[in-house]
């Protein structure tokens, strides 16, 4: 069990893992040892919206095939941080990002990054369910189709390259993975906007799975849903972590405690205060501020 706090006294952090070295102490993040390899590793990330700093020098490693929860009060920058991981912040013209995010060892802010490829491999699920106003089937096959992985229609079938069968397999596989197949398999051609909120959110997860990502980023995926739909999404997240690297932003601390393997706590000003195994964060956090936040004295 290891731990680290990244506030003003981060150099005093306690290192109890075996094999710690001098470099470990210098590099504040290599000391948190988790199972598995780092999928994403963030170094000194600063984000500004205009003149306002939203993220202050955050560094953390995110392990693969696990659930990492980002918690913190509103406006603490956890969603901004999440959107940095697949460069969705590029879409906000006033946002400026400094620092580096390495994905499988490659810096995605290093220039010449292929955004299409990056976002295929790091998918995202948003707070409000946002299926396209298309059929359930078309929602799933939208990504692969646009990437040219699926070709259906008149011209491909004339050329003998019709992927209708593959498309149906893909739709079935993704909907099953997202635990939605049993509820919608008889109406795949119906418009997705006719589904309930929870079903729409699972459809969005299935749509994200269809492009075969390595990492799935989720921005408060259950905050707009009722408790039953939330429970389904939570089960789903835990299952997905067997194959994918999942990063979840949540307001709900019980949810973070239930589903995540490690938890990062952001506090006001875009500062990453503590990042550790979820159990440790919720039972025995290093920082007094995190303890106050978790016990409800603050935030």
């Amino acid at each position: 069990m290891s731990s680290n706090t990244v506030d003003t006294d981060q150099m005093d952090s306690q290192l109890t893992t075996s094999g710690e070295t001098a470099e470990d102490i210098e590099d504040a993040w290599s000391d948190y040892q988790f199972q598995g390899e780092a999928k994403l590793s963030v170094e000194d990330l600063d984000v500004y919206y205009g003149d306002e700093q939203a993220i202050q020098s955050v560094s953390m490693n995110i392990p693969e095939e696990s659930v990492t929860a980002l918690i913190g009060p509103s406006g603490c920058g956890k969603s901004t941080f999440l959107r940095c991981l697949n460069r969705m912040n590029d879409r906000i013209s006033s946002a400026r990002v400094e620092g580096s995010v390495e994905f499988d060892g490659e810096n995605i802010y290093g220039g010449r990054t292929n955004l299409v490829e990056l976002r295929k491999r790091i998918g995202m699920v948003f707070q409000a369910p946002n299926p396209f106003p298309k059929s359930i089937k078309d929602n799933i096959s939208y990504g692969p189709r646009k990437h040219g992985d699926l070709e259906t229609g008149l011209l491909p079938s004339l050329l003998g390259r019709d992927d209708t069968a593959e498309e149906m397999d893909l739709v079935e596989r993704c909907l099953k993975q997202a635990a939605l197949w049993d509820e919608v398999n008889d109406r795949l051609d119906d418009n997705a906007l006719g589904l309930s909120g929870g079903q729409q959110q699972r459809l969005c997860i299935a749509r994200c799975l269809a492009v075969d990502p390595d990492v799935i980023l989720m921005d408060e995926p259950a905050s707009a849903l009722d408790p039953i739909a939330t429970a389904k999404i939570e089960d789903l997240i835990e299952q997905l972590a067997e194959e994918y690297t999942v990063v979840v932003v949540t307001h709900n601390m019980q949810q973070a405690a239930r589903i995540s393997d490690q938890t990062a706590v952001f506090l006001t000003g875009g500062e990453l205060v503590e990042y550790d195994d979820t159990e440790k964060i919720f039972e025995n956090p290093e920082s007094q501020r995190v303890d106050d936040y978790i016990t409800g004295k603050f935030g």
Binding site: M88, G123, P133, Y142
Partner: protein
């Protein structure tokens, strides 16, 4: 009740008040309908009903309404009815009644005393002041019933007494037109019933806030009804005048529907006025086929030109351009272009396009000019509807690694389609009926003997642009153009079959049908996209 702002929780629902107000409302509504029917001449105003002419009956109805409304007001004021009136009916009501009373004073003094301001000025002023004070000074139950009851009673009394009847004519000095009583009286009665409805509606709910609510509801309802009536009058007038021409020689089974390549033909509906050419000497019933075809080609070409350009510009302005001074300037300029008079577009086409493209009037230049006119509206509406596409769709698509252009093509534009089509519908309605620019750049012989054969005239050539179409470079006729030519020409070439007016009305009816048909196509395609997008 001592305090003005204190109202009982339960509004007063006097049974007697309602029992009087409801028949008054019903009577007012019936009278209102009857006045419109008379205006449309569905009811002959000289007809005798219950021993009276229709106009006299209107007068009696007004008197009854006046009695009922005033009765409720007075009974309520003296406490016989359980109502909840405000202390005053309010200044706006007072101003309305003051003005109406002043008009009555003016009219009566002009009629009986003389056309001198020294006489009618003071009388109008005094009556106006009395109307204003009657409406504002007493409690609301008097203020909103008695002034209108007096107006109803005066008008009704004049009609019943025979001062105003079908033979009465208002000959004004300020206009050459004359207003026969048979047309003017129904209109006056119709306005008076609105007052009656308002008063009776308020009275029915026992005045106060609820009464005002109901009064406003009835007034708005009747205004909407009047608007629809005006619309119906317009369409009915065109249909009535054009139907005879339209149906000349028409029969249900007289025509033939030929099956292509099979030399079989079925009996079919025959409407020669629509299917025949106009000018040939050998045609039995001259028709408007060339003009219909011309109009359809014009609209088709204009839409083909304007929609891709407009939607493309809208995509650039929303998705690519920085929102700022530039887009604002474009928006203002586009709105200005939409308000530019069509003759200006026509003049531009005549001076710039005609010499460069066809050297004379032609369908193609007509299509371009109408396309220019359609462009700003298509741009404005598709701009608005692309802006209204939720950003969530764009985010979701970007997060799947789909490029911006693909997102625009497969998510944004389909979602904006219904709004864009609405714009095209509105624009097509305008350009299909456009006449002024066509006079300058498009029109040929007003009574053509053949339809423009655009489809059959495409031919390849050895010099640029390699595909030419002679029919597109020749003038033709369009329905509004032909209508204008017919009305102004004086003599129709076949006076033994149609007079000018008959042919004109028939053309107008066909134009109306063509525009409605285009409108129906637009609405149907919008419905299709909305269904597809699950918006309804």
């Amino acid at each position: 009740m001592s305090n003005a702002t204190e109202t009982e929780l339960r509004a007063g629902h006097s049974t007697l008040g309602r029992q009087v107000a409801l028949p008054v409302l019903g009577l007012a509504f019936l009278t209102f309908l009857a006045t419109w029917a008379t205006t449309f001449q569905w009811i002959d105003e000289t007809r005798t009903v219950l021993g009276m002419t229709v106009l006299t009956l209107f007068g009696v109805a007004l008197l009854l309404m006046a009695a009922g409304v005033a009765g409720i007001g007075v009974l309520s004021r003296f406490g016989f009815l359980d109502t909840t009136p405000s202390p005053t009916a309010g200044l706006p009501v007072g101003i309305v009644f003051g003005t109406l009373w002043a008009f009555i004073g003016m009219a009566v003094s002009l009629q009986y005393i003389g056309n001198t301001i020294v006489y009618w000025g003071p009388i109008a002023f005094v009556l106006g002041a009395v109307g204003l004070l009657t409406a504002t000074l007493p409690r609301e139950d008097i203020g909103s019933t008695v002034p209108s009851a007096v107006l109803l009673a005066v008008l009704g009394g004049l009609i019943v007494a025979g001062v105003l009847d079908a033979t009465w004519v208002y000959e004004a000095e300020w206009t050459g037109a004359i207003f026969p009583g048979s047309e003017l009286i129904p209109l006056l009665v119709s306005v008076a019933t609105l007052l009656g409805v308002w008063s009776a509606g308020k009275a029915k709910e026992g005045f106060g806030a609820q009464g005002r609510e109901v009064g406003a509801f009835y007034i708005i309802g009747t205004v909407v009804f009047s608007m629809l009536s005006v619309l119906a009058l317009l369409i009915w007038f065109i249909v009535k005048n054009g139907l005879d021409t339209f149906l000349t020689g028409a029969s249900l089974t007289g025509g033939h529907l030929n099956v292509p390549f099979a030399s079989i033909s079925f009996p079919f509906i025959e409407v020669p006025f629509v299917t025949n050419v106009t000018g040939s000497l050998f045609v039995e019933t001259p028709g408007v086929m060339p003009a219909v075809v011309g109009t359809l080609w014009l609209v088709f070409g204009a839409v083909l030109f304007a929609v891709p350009l407009g939607v493309g510009a809208a995509v650039f302005l929303t998705e690519y351009a920085d929102q700022g001074r530039f887009t604002q300037v474009v928006e203002v300029a586009t709105n200005g272009l939409w308000s530019t008079p069509s003759i200006v577009f026509g003049l531009f086409g005549l001076a710039f396009l005609v010499p460069r493209i066809s050297g004379g009037n032609s369908i193609f230049v007509g299509q371009l000019v109408l396309g220019f006119m359609l462009l700003p509206l298509v741009l404005i509406t598709s701009w608005e509807s692309i802006k209204a596409v939720p950003d969530e769709y764009r985010d979701a698509s970007a997060a799947l690694g789909v490029s911006k252009w693909q997102t625009i093509r497969s998510v944004v534009i389909p979602a904006a389609m219904p709004g864009t089509i609405t714009g095209v519908i509105l624009g097509v309605g305008r350009i299909a009926g456009e006449t002024a620019p066509l006079l300058l750049v498009f029109g040929g012989a007003p009574y053509p003997s053949k339809s423009p054969n655009v489809v059959g005239q495409f031919s390849f050539s050895t010099e640029p642009p390699f595909i030419t179409n002679q029919a597109l470079l020749e003038p033709a006729s369009a329905l509004p153009y032909q209508l204008y030519a017919t009305i102004t020409a004086g003599v129709f070439p076949r006076p033994e079959i149609y007079s000018n007016q008959e042919f004109g009305w028939g053309t107008a009816l066909v134009l109306l049908l063509v525009v409605l048909g285009l409108y129906a196509i637009g609405v149907a395609s919008r419905l299709y996209f909305r269904r597809k997008l699950h918006y309804e």
